[in-house]
């Protein structure tokens, strides 16, 4: 089956006074994995459920291969869905669970069980085929749920925080596995999560949502380095927020004058957003401007937290080599890399 394009066009949904989705637009290319990222309650699940046909819309359309699916009921959409947890049928064993979608499509028993076995093998559970859900660990249950969703050869795979109930180690393994499978099958996928690391590590593009709207949708690199707004910037990765003064496209921060990209801010006091790895720490400098508070060794790099003269705390991520002699209380000079500095209103 060839991969499908999925389009979400101007979808809005309110629950009473709560606006869960506000004119949401997303287009997902065939075979692409797009993650929806955002704080709790921003409408991610609602968006996914509308695509799946489990929730109605107030306005807007869901298009699959250009065909309007908005009025098609959930059982005719051919979309594979993986829920957060506990979605396996408790009365069926693993292979019957996986075969369920094929059973609904009237595939003969032998064929569908063979296919179920095949998929269980793909997710590494071929020895657990006869186990019932309560006999499987959380991670194994989610693998079965994934196999079950893939068994129907879905046009679109929809995942709603499928890993959030699992512990860190299992989570990291399984997300790589989801990505590997998704790439090999070429299934168009929408992946909902509030874990930015998860979203950034396996997606072709990440859509950051806030209050039912899409703030930005871009590749992980672009999102990280060229965030479209302060919200996106602080939601994706760590950001230092420093006070600065903007004067005709030049911002003054930490005593440095840095030119910033076009923005529609008026001159005056602004907030300057800087990634920790864009701040370098110079020891043995004549004109120091900060004091080291702590240094934590993280492996290849170290996190150095310093305090400016005016009390502002600033975080820096530096290569561990060469910072071994930094101690709390040391006077240092902080320098900001002039690339990708973002300003926002205070």
């Amino acid at each position: 089956m060839s991969s499908a394009t999925l389009e979400i066009q101007g979808i809005s949904r309110r629950f009473g006074d709560v606006v869960a989705l506000d004119e949401l637009d997303i287009k997902i290319e065939p075979g692409e994995l797009v993650a929806l990222l955002g704080p709790s309650g921003c409408g991610k699940t609602t968006a996914l459920r509308i695509v799946a046909g489990l929730e109605s819309t107030d306005s807007g359309h869901v298009l699959l291969r250009g065909k309007d699916m908005t009025e098609v009921s959930a059982n005719h959409r051919n979309m594979g869905m993986v829920f957060q947890a506990y979605s396996l049928f408790p009365n069926l064993n693993a292979e019957e669970n996986v075969a369920f979608g094929l059973q609904m499509r009237k595939v003969p028993k032998l064929n569908r069980l063979a296919k179920a076995r095949e998929l269980l093998e793909v997710v590494g559970l071929n020895t657990q085929a006869k186990r019932f859900p309560h006999q499987l660990s959380g991670g194994q249950q989610q693998r079965v749920a994934l196999a079950r969703a893939l068994a129907i050869e879905p046009d679109v795979l929809l995942l709603d925080e499928p890993l959030s109930a699992l512990d860190a180690q299992v989570r990291a393994n399984l997300r790589e596995e989801i990505r590997r499978l998704q790439l090999s099958l070429g299934t168009t996928t929408l992946f909902v999560t509030h874990d930015q690391e998860e979203a950034m590590s396996i997606s072709d593009r990440v859509g950051v949502m806030n209050n039912g709207r899409l703030e930005q949708i871009a590749s992980p690199d672009e999102l990280y380095n060229k965030p479209a707004s302060a919200f996106v910037a602080s939601f994706v990765g760590l950001m230092n927020r420093l006070p600065g003064v903007l004067d005709s496209k030049i911002v003054e921060v930490l005593g440095q004058r840095i030119s910033v990209a076009d923005n529609n801010l008026s001159d005056g006091v602004v907030k300057v957003l800087i990634r920790p790895e864009r701040v370098s720490v110079i020891q043995d400098s004549q004109d120091t401007n900060a004091t080291v508070i702590t240094r934590s060794f993280l492996g290849a790099s170290s996190r150095v937290i310093c305090q400016m003269r005016d009390g502002t705390v600033i975080q820096s991520l530096v290569p561990s080599a060469g910072t071994g002699s930094l101690n709390p209380g040391d006077e240092v000079k902080l320098i900001i890399d002039e690339h990708d500095v973002l300003v926002a209103s205070v």
Partner: protein
């Protein structure tokens, strides 16, 4: 752990004494024939000699089956729907289903009777509806707890997403998963219907329990034999239903919380 291992047998034995002692004594008494030492089946022969015995037993069984059917057709789908589509009404239902315990039976019987269609008011089957109402505090809870123990909404949605129509979702997923809760609630309805006395006699109908009461005024040992018989029959029924549910209960459901 030591305390737990002692607690269980103590509780069990107390329960057995609590149930078996009166039941055993009643059984012994029902076999007495004249004196303390002479025993016979006289009282049981007397029961069978009552020509109305089978008639009223039949009436009660029919009405109880009616109540069971109504529970199955109205109560079960309603509670399932509450869980799937109308979670926010559950507190309201919780309250409403307690009313039969609060409203005095007299008020309930007259009020509920006048709410029924005319045709039904003159039929003994009105009692089946009343029994469903009386059993509601228990049946609703049995169903509600049973359905809360499983993520019914999620698995139903999963089934729908995998291509199941509503009918198929109900037959392949919902029904098997809630079966034990349903059987439990049906048994409660059955037991309550078979034993209901107050409301039945207030509405001037005759069923097995009202018949037993009137007959027992003539023969005290016979009356005790009758209650021993009813109790034994109820136990047997319970046991039979327990066997059926246990055997068909796949191990999938066991330990699933």
């Amino acid at each position: 752990m030591k305390r737990k291992s002692l607690l269980l047998p103590v509780t069990l034995i107390s329960c057995i004494i609590f149930i078996a002692l009166p039941f055993g004594s009643a059984t012994e008494f029902s076999f007495r024939d004249g004196g303390k030492t002479k025993h016979s089946l006289a009282a049981y022969r007397w029961i069978l000699a009552q020509e109305d015995f089978l008639h009223y037993l039949g009436v009660s069984l029919r009405l109880a089956l009616g109540a069971v059917l109504i529970t199955l057709i109205i109560m079960v789908p309603t509670v399932a729907w509450l869980h799937l589509k109308a979670q926010r009404y559950r507190p309201l239902m919780e309250f409403l289903t307690l009313l039969p315990l609060v409203v005095p039976v007299v008020a309930l019987s007259i009020g509920a009777q006048s709410a029924l269609p005319e045709a039904l008011q003159s039929s003994e089957y009105e009692l089946s509806f009343m029994y469903v109402v009386l059993a509601m505090p228990y049946t609703y809870r049995a169903l509600d707890i049973g359905m809360s123990a499983i993520p019914l909404k999620t698995i139903t949605e999963a089934a729908r997403g995998l291509g199941a129509s509503w009918i198929k979702a109900i037959t392949y997923v919902i029904a098997p998963v809630i079966r034990n809760a349903v059987i439990g609630s049906l048994f409660l309805t059955l037991a309550l219907s078979l034993g209901e006395f107050t409301l039945t006699s207030l509405l001037h109908w005759d069923t097995f329990p009202t018949w037993v009461t009137s007959v027992s005024q003539q023969n005290i040992i016979g009356a005790i034999a009758l209650s021993v018989f009813s109790l034994a029959a109820a136990f047997f029924l319970l046991f039979a239903i327990g066997l059926v549910t246990m055997r068909s209960k796949s191990d999938a459901m066991e330990g699933h919380k």
